[in-house]
Every structure is written in C-alpha cells, then in structure tokens.
C-alpha cells in the first residue's frame, strides 16, 4: 500500500454526510438491488428445508424398519434435490444481479470522478496531492463497491437464514431451541467484543505500516545522501524501531482476529454437546425423534454463521462510510465558476493584450500579483524576467484563465477575457510549459493534440518547422512511435521540442512559453532556441525567459519583482537605466 492508503483507513468524520450521499448515489439501481435482495431471501428460504427433510428420511427409515419404505424416502430425497438445486440457482441469480449492479455503479463513480477532475478549478490541485485524488479513484471506489455488494448480500441472506432457522428449530423442539438461542448469541457478543479489539489493532497496524512505508520510500529516494553522510546506522535503527512496532501491532491484530475462531468453536461445541445430551434424553423419553435430533444439529451449525456475519457488518459499514465520505467529499468540491453569459467573442484576433490593475493571491492572504498593468501591442514578443517567486508563472496562469484575478482586468483586443468563454480564451494561445507533459500514445497523436483534424502533412510541416523532423524520423517507428511522460526513448530536450511542435500544429494566434532551464544537452538546446525564435516571430508572445538570447531578442522586457513590474523596456534601455534589470544581468551574464 502506498503512502496514501493510510488515509482511507481513517475514521469517518461525518457519517451522516457519507451515508446520505451514498444512499443517494445508489438510488438509480434500487430496482436491481431490491430484486437481488428478493432472490437472496428466496434462496435462503428454499435452502432451509434440507436438514428437516433429511431428518424426515431417517425417521421414515426407522419407523418402517426393517421393511424400509423406499417410495416415501425417495420422494423426500427428490424434494431435497429440487430444493437445494433451486436454492443454488436463485443464489447464483442474486449474485449475478448484484455483480452487474456493482460493476455499473463502479463505472459510474469513476466517470463522475474523472468529470469532476475536469471541472475543478486549477487552484484545487495546488492544495491536494495527485496521489490522494488517484487513491480516491482506485482504492476508495473499490472499497465502497465491494463492501456495498457484500453488505447487501450478507445482510439479506443472514437475516432470512436467521429467522428461518429459528422457526425450523422451534418446530422441531422448543426446549432444545431455547438452549441454542441462549448459547449462540452469547458467543456472538463475545466474538463481537474481540472483533472490536482486533479492529483497533488493525488500525494501529495500518498506521504503522504507513509510517514504515514512507520511511522506506524516503530512505531509498535519498540513498546517496544517506551513504555520503554515513547515515546508514541511524537509518537502520530508525527503520528497525518502526519495523518492530509493526510486527508487534500485526501480532496483536492477528491474534485478536484469529481468536474469534477458537472462541466460536468453544461455544459451538458447547451448544453441540448440550443438544446431543439433551436431545438424547428427549429421544429416550420419546418426546423427540432421532431424525429430529439429526436435523436440529444441522440447524444449529447453520445458526452460527448469520449471527457472526451480522455482528461483523459494523466493521464493513465503517469502511464503506469512510470510503463513501472520501469519494463524495471530492465530488462535492466547488467547481469552476460557469462561463460568463452571454459570452463575448473576438471575431478576428489582432493580438493586443492589456493587463489593467490586476491583483491576485493564491490563498486570499498573501498577494502574489500587485496592481499589475501593462499594454502589449499586437505582434510583440514579451520576455518576463525576475527572481524566483516574483510572480512570473502566475501572470501566465491568469492569462490562460487557469486562475481568476482578485481584481482588475485582462483585456484582449478590447474584450475583457472574463467575459469570454474559458475554452475560447485558451484557444487563442499556444502554450509550451517547462513541464513537458506528453500523454502515452504515438508521436503523431501527441502532435495533433491541439488540432485533431490536422493532416499528416500539417504535422510534418510543424515538425520540420520546429527542428524535430529528423529526430522523429530516427525513432524506431517514426511518427507511430509510442511515447509517454516517463518514456526514455526521447530525451527531455526532445520532449520540449515535441511540445513546441504540438503548439505549432494548433497554429494559435498568440503564444505562451516557459523556457526550460536545465537538463537539456547543448545540441538540443540550440534547436529549441531556434524554434522558439521561429514560432514567436510575428505573434504576440509571452516568454518566461531564462536564456540571454531570448531576453535580448524580445521587443519588450517586463522585469518583475514581488508581484509588480519594476522596470520595462528593451535590453539596451534597461541596461542604461542601471536599475534592477542591470543588476540581474550583471550578476549573471556580464564579464567581471
């Protein structure tokens, strides 16, 4: 189990919410569920008569001995076969209906989650880890649906069997039944108690396992640091401590959970013995038949299971509610605000972009962008420079409407972008990020990600334009080569080139680029730089620049510091001004 598993083992915070949402979500399936419950009840009832009929067979044999009445016995036997066969058929039908329901329910839940991911504001993902969301999609959905189908089947079966068996027992012998009714529930109460303990230690075990797993992850990831600082001893002893703790918690959890077996056993045997002895006495004084005792013994053994199962439902319901809470909590997160109605459009784009007094903060407390204003003429190449944390990336996020400004406006060709549909705003920009995300698929599929109907010649033209044609053709299957985020058949730099080509296939009127800083070899670096220059030519473009050449070629340099533009102009004028930009430049590029 990964580091995220431990969260789902936690307690339910709001059971009412979890229960309400869960029952609401299974509403569309209520007909199938009811049907399945009815089938379960039917199957349980049909199964009830087998021991009684077998007992009858014995009685008939004894009473007719030595001229055994085979006719009557075989008719009983045939009834038994019919009964248990049809019970089994109903049982199968019940299980199958439930399996279909739970499969579809699972499917729907997953779809709801993936939809939700697309509708949540980007800011949600700043505060929540991918792993956590992923584990809701996988672990929690799994837990919810399995425990749901298990509960429905178990509860309906158990209740029916319980009532049925009790009735049957009473019809055979009232005093014997009373013995069974006293002994068995006591065992269930005791077992339930033990199960509670077991549950407590299981939680402790899960929590310790979580701690241990993260220790392992951390130490393996930082192995060279541990080695080069001679930290192995300390790491081993800290690991050993948690490992010991885990072994002790596991032992306790296992002991308590396996304890229920001998305990039930004692009680079952006690009941069994009591019934043998008392049954024997009743048969001797003729108040009961041998077949009756035989049947009764079988019923007692059937009496145990449903009670234990009902007792264990509390645990299952706990985990069902915990999973339900995590899933529906996610599904009820506030979504992105709907697009402005009626949305405006820009009929033919010129590419003039203006920021008017834009202010923004991620958390509503610490302002990241403060009163940011600038007007960019069509076709301008803008380079944004500044130290880490100056707010460069945030400007791009606002421009793409990944986030909305707290105040102020961003205006394109005179139209405020908040009044344009998000999709339409994003259509205006081609975006190349540092993080070179490619989905797993072929090169071709990845390149046409921005324009599905692009022809192969469009794709090839874009590839050629972005200097990646030769690289693609050198791949084992050319444009049909499979690549993914973490595939190693293309280097980091080549991935960056692919993302540039991907943006070019869409042929957007404006561009947003975040230059990569590292891990690119020099030849590829050169190619990237060249294609950057080519694609920005004549387009309004915003580049978060790290390369001197990009900065120097820019028409307009915005120097940012603490969320504000502190200087703007081109390279020469800014150097002459001898301000923050000059300081930045000199510390890095100039001769000493």
């Amino acid at each position: 189990m990964g580091p995220h598993g431990k969260e789902s083992a936690g307690k339910v915070k709001n059971s009412r919410f979890a229960f309400k949402e869960f029952s609401h979500s299974i509403k569309p399936y209520w007909i199938s569920i009811t049907f399945s419950v009815l089938l379960a009840v039917g199957s349980a009832i049909l199964g009830l008569f087998t021991p009684k009929l077998l007992g009858d067979m014995t009685n008939i044999a004894i009473n007719s001995y030595p001229n055994i009445n085979w006719g009557e016995i075989s008719s009983k036997a045939i009834t038994v076969v019919i009964l248990f066969a049809s019970s089994a058929i109903l049982q199968y039908a019940q299980a199958f209906v439930l399996a279909v329901v739970s499969a579809h329910y699972t499917k729907d839940l997953r779809e709801k989650i993936i939809d939700k991911i697309a509708r949540l504001p980007i800011s949600y993902f700043d505060k929540h880890k991918y792993g956590d969301i992923l584990s809701r999609m996988t672990n929690d959905v799994d837990v919810l649906t399995t425990s749901m189908s298990q509960e429905i089947a178990d509860v309906s079966l158990s209740v029916t069997i319980l009532i049925g068996v009790m009735t049957m027992m009473l019809t055979i012998s009232v005093p014997l039944s009373l013995v069974a009714f006293i002994v068995v529930p006591i065992s269930v109460v005791v077992v339930g108690r033990i199960a509670n303990f077991a549950h407590k230690y299981f939680r402790e075990q899960q929590a310790t396992l979580g701690v241990l797993n993260s220790k392992i992850e951390e130490d393996y990831a930082g192995l060279i640091i541990i080695k080069s600082n001679s930290f192995e001893g300390a790491a081993t002893s800290s690991f050993g401590e948690t490992n010991d703790k885990l072994a002790r918690a596991t032992t306790k959890a296992q002991i308590f959970s396996s304890l229920s077996f001998p305990v039930t056993h004692i009680f079952t045997n006690l009941g069994y013995i009591a019934i043998c002895v008392m049954g024997g006495m009743f048969v001797i004084d003729k108040s009961l038949t041998i077949g009756g005792v035989q049947a009764f013994i079988q019923y007692v053994s059937r009496f145990n299971r449903p009670i234990t199962e009902i007792a264990s439902t509390t645990t299952t319901i706990q985990s069902l509610l915990a999973a339900s809470e995590r899933i529906f909590e996610f599904l009820s997160e506030p979504e992105e605000e709907p697009d402005f109605e009626p949305a405006l459009t820009i009929p033919s784009i010129k590419g003039e972009v203006e920021f008017r007094n834009v202010c923004f903060s991620y958390d509503g407390v610490t302002p990241i962008i403060k009163d940011f204003s600038v007007k960019v003429a069509p076709g301008t190449n803008v380079a944004i420079v500044g130290p880490t944390g100056a707010g460069k990336t945030t400007i791009i996020n606002l421009l793409m409407r990944f986030y909305e400004p707290d105040s102020g406006d961003i205006v394109i060709d005179g139209v405020p972008i908040k009044e344009i549909k998000r999709a339409d705003v994003r259509q205006l920009f081609g975006m190349v990020l540092q993080d070179t995300w490619l989905f797993s698929g072929t090169v071709d599929e990845n390149l046409r990600y921005g324009r599905k109907d692009a022809s192969l010649s469009d794709i090839k033209a874009a590839a050629k334009f972005c200097n990646i044609e030769h690289i693609i053709e050198a791949l084992p299957h050319g444009y049909k080569t499979m690549i993914s985020e973490d595939s190693d058949n293309v280097s980091a730099g080549e991935k960056q080139l692919l993302t540039i080509a991907r943006a070019m296939v869409a042929n957007p009127p404006m561009l947003i680029l975040d230059e990569a800083t590292s891990n690119v070899d020099t030849r590829t670096e050169h190619l990237i730089q060249e294609s950057f220059e080519k694609i920005t030519h004549g387009r309004t473009s915003f580049v978060i620049a790290h390369r001197l050449s990009t900065i120097r070629n820019a028409d307009l340099i915005l120097v940012m510091r603490d969320g504000r533009i502190v200087e703007q102009g081109n390279h020469e004028t800014l150097l002459k001004a001898n301000g923050f930009y000059a300081e930045l430049y000199n510390s890095q590029f100039a001769e000493n």
Binding site: L54, I68, I73, H104
Partner: protein, 583 residues
C-alpha cells in the same frame, strides 16, 4: 517461496509448538462426531442414559482441549508470521542500503520500494495463512478420512466423489477466470494511467480544450473494464452455489446410503450422521487447500522479487580501517579512469585523467550522456571504476574505510533530496554535532537563510516526506546548506545549481568562495555561466575527455566547448567571448 523459508529458522521451536497444537486441535475436533454417533447408537437406541452422560462429559473435555489448542496455534501463527516478515523486511532494507548506484539503476527506486513494502506484505499474508490453515487443512483431510472410513467403510467412496466434485469445480472455474485476471489488471492499470495523466497534464489538457477527448478515452477503457468485470463475475459467482450443491448433495447421499445400509447394521443410524460431518470436514479442507494453491503463484512472484534483491552480492568492498597516511592538502586525482556498466559493451567513461587541487574549482561540462555525472559519482565510490585509479589526498580511494571516505565528501545531488524532520535536522544531517550558529551560517551561504526565517517556525519548521512542502529551488538550497554544514574537504555539486535562478546561482557561488579556500570543488553544470570562472574545466564528450583548461583556453582550442558556449550565448556575445579568448 521456499527459499524464504530459511527466515523461519529462528522461530523453529514456536513452529513446532504450533504444529503440535494444530495436531491436537484437529484430533480432538474429529473425535466429537464419533462420540455423537456413540450417543445415538449406544445411548439413544439402547435407551442408556449413563452412556449419554458419559459421552457428553467426554465431549465437553475434548472441546475444551480443542479450544485451548486452537488458541495456542492461533497465537503462534500470528506471532511467527509477523516476526518472520519483519526479518525479511529488515534484510531487504539493509541490503538496499548497501546497494551502489549501478544496482539501483538496475532495479529502479520505485521497484525497490514495492519489493520492500507490497511484496513483503504479500508474503506475510500467505505465511500467516499457511501457518494457521495449511497445517490444519491437510491434517483435517487425512485424519478426517481415516475417521470417516473407520466409521463407515462401506460409504467411503462418497468421500472420493465429494472431493472430486469440489476440486473439479474449483479447477474449472479458475481455469476459465485466471487468464482474464491479467487482462483485468492491465485494464485497471490503464484506468489509473489515464486518471494520472488527467491530473499531471491538467494545464495542457485545459489549454488545448481537450477535456472531452480525455473523457472519451477514459470512458472507452472504463467500459471495457466493466464488461470484463461482469464476464469474470458471471463465472466466479458460480463458485458458491456450486459448492452448496456439492455439500448438500453429499449430505443427502450419506443419508441415502446410510439408510440402505441399515439392513446390514443398525448402527449406521448414528454412523451416517457422523460420517456426513467427516465428509464435510474433508471437503472443506480441500476447498481451502485448492484456494490456497491458487494464491501460491501470486506469492511466488513476490517471493521471487524479494529473493532477487537478497541474493545481490555487494560489489564494492571497503576496508575496515583506512590504510596509508593521507597528504595534508586535499586533492582528487583521476589516473586513466574508465567505467562501463556490467555487461555493457560501451564505456561510459574512457581514460580520464586530471588532478583537482585544494582551493581550486574543477568543473565538468558536456551534453547529456557525456558521462559527467557518472564521473563525479566515482569519487564517493557509488560506482566503481572499471580500470585506472582515483586518489584522494594521495591515497587510492579503495584504501579508505567507508566512513572516512564519506567524511571527506560533501555531495549535492542533481535533485534536491530532503528527509522528513525539520529544516535544522536536514541541514545537520551530515554533521550531527553542528551548533545552531553553524547551521545558520551554512544556510546563509546556501542563500537559504532568507526564506527559512520567513517560514512560520524558522529553522524548526517541519519538512514533509520528500520535502514536498518547499519549492524545488528551496530544496536545492537546503541540500547545499547540508553539504556546507558538513564542512568537507571535497565539495561535489552534481548539476546542483540548475534549479536556481541565475541571480541566486551567482550569489551562491560568490558566498561559497571563502569556505572552499582549502577544499576541492567539483562542479557538474549545464550552464556555461556557472563554470566560466572555474580554475579548470574538463570537457566531456561521449565518455572521452576532449578538453581540459580554463574558459579562455578552451574557447581557443576546444571545438566541443566552443559549440556549447555558442548555443548558450547570442552571436554578438559569442564573438565577444571569442575575441577575449584570442586576445
């Protein structure tokens, strides 16, 4: 799987107790139906109340012993299972700590983590099950069979029929379903993959307005998965009803045959009930066994993966004590060093020689795959040179005790690595005795003091696992502070500055100068600007050293270096640089 059983050795006496207890429990449990048959045959039929009481008390005694034995066996199986897997986990962990980088590359960190966690958990599950069930089931089978045949030899063929039916039905169902499990796992993985992509590619997907396409992709796989799930369930759900039919059928058969045998022997009246119970015991055990054998292959995969790690022999050995007297002044010298991965034809490093002196900076530059990272990882012996020798302070690194060697080196890896704890505990990682003042000083040099003091708890601020609560640049600066705080003779910066912006990079290098005046500094870098001022630059290309000298010297004579510089500067600047070089 069986290779791992050697880990059971320390617990041998507990296993023996466990075995005895299990045997006792099975034996006593199986006596009960026989006694019940006796109650029916000799007590009830003969109307002998004394026999009923005698047998009843005997049953009570046996039941108590059985429960006691069952408790003992549960206790020991839980304990042995838990501690057995604890030992395996510890063994794997310690082995991985001894791994060198070649081993890690071989297995990947992610896979090593799964092996230490998930795989060990799998083994633990199966072993605990095995201890409590696998011992009990065969005993039940054998003893149950013996008892059944003893009770009613004429009916023993029923046992064969029952067992056969159980085994055949399990085999048929599993052989229908098992091949689908692989496909099933693949589809589950695919669903997870698409979800992951939707999360990691969030911005790109939205930037291209491709939400609906992603949705369609997801739905297709999701539908496929659902269909397969329903198909598998359709077969799998047959199991319980089938088993029920078999159990009921066998019981009916017992009654029927028992009644037909009454003519020969009236004691079949009690025996057939006892017999039916024995048959149930035996069939249950077989059911458990067959389910268990289905699980074995899965556990075997895990066991195989664990064994693979455990049998890796450490390739790099350190002497217990450092041999030889080191020079007073720090230095690192490579003499004709080559390196190739085991079984690889191509050399990653080929015949590298240079000397790095104290107070001087030696830089390494070259494109990806040029071998520069591998080169500096040879210094702390994370890789072992295939030929040639490396000397630190005049002594071959193979002569150093591990801790002595590591003590000399302050390493800053490419990716900033932090450990959960506090800012302070992370900086003090390599120098546990450092004072608060030394910690603060190190952070100042690493340009980290500024952001640390702005954190809510300053140096006491919590760092989460993997340092996810600080930014990449901050992580890198803390990891530099950690190396500085150690005050080593040799600094190794493996492309450690690239996550920093240009300005911080420059400031940091300036601040490092005073404290590295007596130390050897080795820097791997991508940016020319980072290493321009180095006293010696080693230019690598495909594992070969193609240039060695200062920035100016290399600009004059080294083609590879020229092209690197050219790609990072504008034409005008490049001309200026070249001019400077020829002047």
């Amino acid at each position: 799987m069986f290779k791992l059983m050697r880990f059971l050795k320390p617990y041998w006496w507990q296993v023996i107790i466990l075995l005895l207890a299990t045997g006792g429990q099975v034996y006593t449990t199986l006596q009960l139906p026989a006694l019940m048959a006796d109650i029916i045959n000799n007590g009830i039929v003969e109307s002998d109340m004394a026999t009923v009481w005698k047998d009843g008390l005997l049953m009570l005694g046996l039941a108590t012993i059985s429960a006691l034995a069952s408790f003992i066996s549960s206790y020991f199986s839980a304990k042995v299972g838990a501690f057995f897997s604890r030992d395996i986990r510890a063994a794997v962990f310690q082995k991985v700590l001894m791994f060198n980088l070649a081993d890690i590359k071989n297995y990947s960190t992610a896979s090593l983590i799964t092996r230490t966690t998930n795989d060990v958990n799998q083994i633990q599950m199966i072993v605990t099950m095995m201890l409590s069930m696998l011992l009990r089931a065969p005993l039940f089978c054998v003893l149950g069979l013996v008892m059944a045949i003893q009770t009613a030899p004429e009916m023993s063929w029923i046992v064969a029929v029952g067992i056969g039916a159980v085994v055949i039905s399990v085999i048929i169902i599993m052989s229908l379903v098992a091949p689908k499990f692989k496909v099933f796992q693949k589809l589950v993985d695919k669903v997870t993959l698409i979800t992951r992509e939707n999360l990691t590619g969030l911005k790109v997907i939205r930037a291209f307005n491709n939400e609906s396409i992603e949705k369609r992709k997801f739905t297709r796989t999701n539908d496929e998965l659902t269909k397969l799930l329903i198909f598998v369930d359709r077969i799998l759900e047959l199991q319980n009803p089938l088993i029920n039919i078999i159990f009921n059928g066998t019981t009916l058969l017992c009654s029927w045959i028992g009644i037909s045998l009454l003519d020969q022997n009236y004691s079949y009246l009690g025996n057939m009930t006892a017999f039916a119970e024995y048959v149930t015991f035996v069939m249950m055990s077989f059911l458990m066994l067959s389910l268990f054998f289905i699980m074995i292959p899965r556990a075997n995969v895990s066991a195989g993966r664990i064994n693979e790690i455990l049998k890796v022999a450490p390739k790099i050995h350190f002497p217990k004590k450092t041999r030889g007297v080191p020079n007073k002044k720090a230095s690192v010298e490579f003499r004709k060093v080559s390196f190739a991965y085991p079984d690889a034809a191509e050399k990653v490093l080929d015949d590298i020689s240079f000397t790095a002196e104290a107070g001087k900076t030696t830089a390494f530059i070259g494109s990806t795959g040029s071998g520069k990272s591998t080169l500096i990882n040879l210094v702390p012996r994370f890789y072992e040179a295939t030929s040639g020798e490396i000397l630190i302070d005049g002594i071959d690194i193979k002569e150093y005790a591990k801790d002595d060697l590591m003590q000399k080196i302050g390493l800053v890896p490419q990716r900033g690595v932090l450990f959960s704890g506090t800012v302070k505990s992370n900086i003090k990682f390599g120098a546990p005795n450092a004072t608060d003042e030394q910690v603060r000083k190190a952070a100042e040099i690493a340009q980290a003091d500024g952001f640390i003091t702005r954190l809510p708890n300053g140096y006491g601020s919590h760092i989460t696992q993997g340092g996810t609560n600080v930014s990449g640049g901050q992580k890198q600066r803390l990891s530099i502070a950690r190396a500085v705080c150690k005050n080593p003779d040799i600094f190794v910066f493996d492309d450690a500055f690239s996550a920093l912006d240009m300005k911080t990079d420059a400031r940091l290098r300036e601040a490092l100068k005073p404290i590295t005046s007596d130390a050897v500094v080795l820097i791997v870098a991508q940016r020319v600007s980072t290493i321009k001022d180095a006293d010696q630059i080693v230019v690598l290309d495909k594992g070969k050293m193609v240039g060695k000298g200062t920035h100016q010297e290399l600009l004059g004579c080294c083609k590879v270096y020229q092209s690197i510089v050219k790609s990072q500067l504008s034409d005008a600047e490049f001309r200026k640089e070249m001019h400077g070089a020829t002047r």
